[in-house]
Amino acid sequence: MAKQHITFTLNGEKIEILVEPRELLIHTLREKLHQTGSHIGCETSHCGACTVDLNGKSVKSCTVLTVQAEGGTVTTVEGLATNGQLHPLQEGFMQEHGLQCGYCTPGMLMRAYRFLQENPNPSEEEIRWGMSGNLCRCTGYQNIVKAVQYAAKKLQAAGGA
């Protein structure tokens, strides 16, 4: 298959890459660009371990073709901290014990990152619905909810995301 020349922005850096048209974004990120923070858990869009931000939306990168990112902006967990400063969500997950094995965590963080921009002051129920595309087998979600609340509060105090 003829490879396609693709250009996009990843965590603020411009990327140029040749990929097969069938290549999935998660594989490009992990295997070609060595950004292994995003994980693969199910290959069917159910678990959300591969969640990244693409053009201002949460997407499951195991079911997005890399060619679909052409000209776009991708943010992964590796791009969440800025200037060496952890994002309030990263702090929240650590402070509230919102992770155990850590495998779902990058996807959870990236979904929450977008969710809190969609709904900066969510109720617990809204958080549970807003995060329901991301599965966790370890925590039972209670502390993930608290972690998102921690970040929401902190972001609100700082005057928004």
């Binding site: 290959e43 590796e78 155990q100 094995c101 966790c136 039972g140």
Partner: protein, 801 residues
Amino acid sequence: MASTAEDLDREQKLEGIGCARKRKEDPRFIQGKGYYVDDVQLPGTLFGAVVRSPYAHARIKSINKDKAMALPGVKAVLTAEDLKPLKLHWMPTLAGDVQAVLADEKVCFQYQEIAMVIADDRYIAADGVDLVEVEYEPLPALVDPHKAMDADAPVIREDLVGKDEAGQGKRVHNNHIFRWEVGDKAGTDKVFDGAEVTVKQAMVNPRVHPCPLETCGCVASFDKARGDLTVYMTSQAPHVIRTVVSLLSGLPESKIRIISPDIGGGFGNKVGVYPGYVVAIVASIVLGRPVKWIESRIDNLSTTAFARDYHMVGELAADKNGRIKGLRVNVLADHGAFNAHAQPTKWPAGLFSICTGSYDIPTAHVQVDGVYTNKAPGGVAYRCSFRVTEAVHLIERMIDILALKLGIDKAEIRLRNFIQPEQFPYNSALGWQYDSGNYPAALKKVMEAVDYAGLRKEQEEKRKRGELMGIGICTFTEIVGAGPSKACDVLGVGMFDSCEIRVHPTGSAIARMGTISQGQGHQTTYAQIIATELGLPSEVIQVEEGDTSTAPYGLGTYGSRSTPVGGAATAVAARKIRDKARNIAAHLLEVSPDDLDWDIDRFKVKGVPGQEKTMKEIAWAAYNNVPPGMEMGLEAVEYYDPPNFTYPFGAYVCVLDIDRYTGETKVRRFYALDDCGTRINPMIIEGQIHGGLTEAFAVAMGQLLSFDEDGNIQGNSLMDYFLPTAVETPHWETDYTVTPSPHHPLGAKGVAESPHVGGIPCFTNGVNDAFSHLGVTHIDMPHTAFSVWKTLHELGLDKRP
């Protein structure tokens, strides 16, 4: 013990036992810097993908690799024929049986491994799989374990025909694996014959899968020049894996390095040795390049290690006051096509004989028959100690059924039958010695917290209005921390565990363990144990696990054994160091070691204020000024062989409401009191309990691997297999009591599996309780809305007025 504010401050700075210390693991995970097996990217890595059988039972007539081999980028296609000259086409299982690594002339379950295609990248490998041509002759499939021992049942294991033994005792049929009996059969029969009341119930713990979010996989890398094999592997037991790989490959253990990197959840799925690992290793040895094999989710749910599939009949004999006199249990265990359950070798039904539970039952008998069917092999302990979930489920359902028959309240009947605090250590009728417990205190505390009497009153009022409300109770006892080497081994290796601690001159330390975390937070909690034992801040204590070239040999992490066994090893190793430190301190202070008192982080001369040496000072001295005749350095290693198992327990109550018209169950409240003895990190304990309860909720309310009559697995992706989201998952309330284990150096018992073991029967008891006034005795799991609706429909309750 701290007595002044200054002492307290000193103690708190250590962040030792009892501190809700934040996890040391988290910074890497929240920044995407975890290192899981699929993150291992070695130069020149090839990818393996597995060709799998579409049939559950079939003869392989031919395999044609030509088209696959012709695909550019395909480096090899390995089949059983290729492994045969190496004698690696079959491998021993942990249960004394053998398992085909790649199908040898015949397939015995759907998705069985036929061949591995090894290619330059995962896309080419997947294309290659499609090009391997396999011709099959389908055979009738045996799916129902109840038909396994019929006279005309299809023979699944032709390799065993004529053998009256398959590794775990006598067998009586081609599809029979073993019969295991424990207890007093004649005595139990006699108790039942003379009993005032008996109850009997058949129930199923259906086939489920642990389904960690990360699937299984490995990267095998054989260095031809050095003759060394390194394997990165999702393994809960890397040291045992090294021994097995050595036995299979003939390479000395010293030439094999198994590394378990970060593991994305295990829950029992990552204990065993799977064909994918073996073939990837062979491929790397043959090709001299690293070979990566990573399961897809469908492969994972279909092949590597199901749990449960226990078809049980329980019976209780009692007097009319509800005092239990005897327990009788018969189990039919579906082990799939190969007996590859992961239990201590001598225990074909694991620790199932803990099924007398928290109750003082004088007489009992248990019989378990294992059978082959055309399903994937396994039978792992899914977030539990070996077969303990099944055991607790049985007794907790049976005691509810007895209460129902006698019209006794379900909490009251438990209080009448509990082993009393003064009876510990308690010898159970089936041979266990329970170390410690206080069951009545735990249940009473929970009953008060949830206002149990008020809930029953509310339920009565709701029933009058035709509403369905259930109150589930479970008062479980686990048996964990396998285990004493006299009782437990894996392939002949005793189930001890280990810790090696080195204290550096400047007072920091490194500890290496035989266990391996899969999210339990070992780096955090083991450091806390050492901090308390050695008086060094946990912040400067580094904990490493999972690399067989650096860590001492250990049996790994499963069956809640890390704190009971690895934690004990840590405490004992630290105490060896403290003993040496005492002698060094005595030398420095020019007193006898007996004149010194240990005080948080230092030794003090008795009665002489100010005469003291801190552990940090002693560490420095250990490298330059030790007593004459003492060797330098400050380190110790402990291989801890526990004297007994530990027996954590708990009392759980759930309250749920059922929608009469849809069958949907809403868990309104779940209150979990756990007693795991001494608590090392309360934050981590609570997190483990939340997670275990959520997995219990998943099993009770929805998880099921089902098969059609041809043995086709149904629902083997996350589209169908139930993993609860944040929306369905209930809110958890946790509580605790502390009854230390008398034989554990710290009094700790282990906790992570209790909520799964105790949670499942609590939910199912709750659903059954909602129907108990309507003549319903028992409904099997999983309690999906459809399953509950069927009961409602049969009772005519789903008709709207």
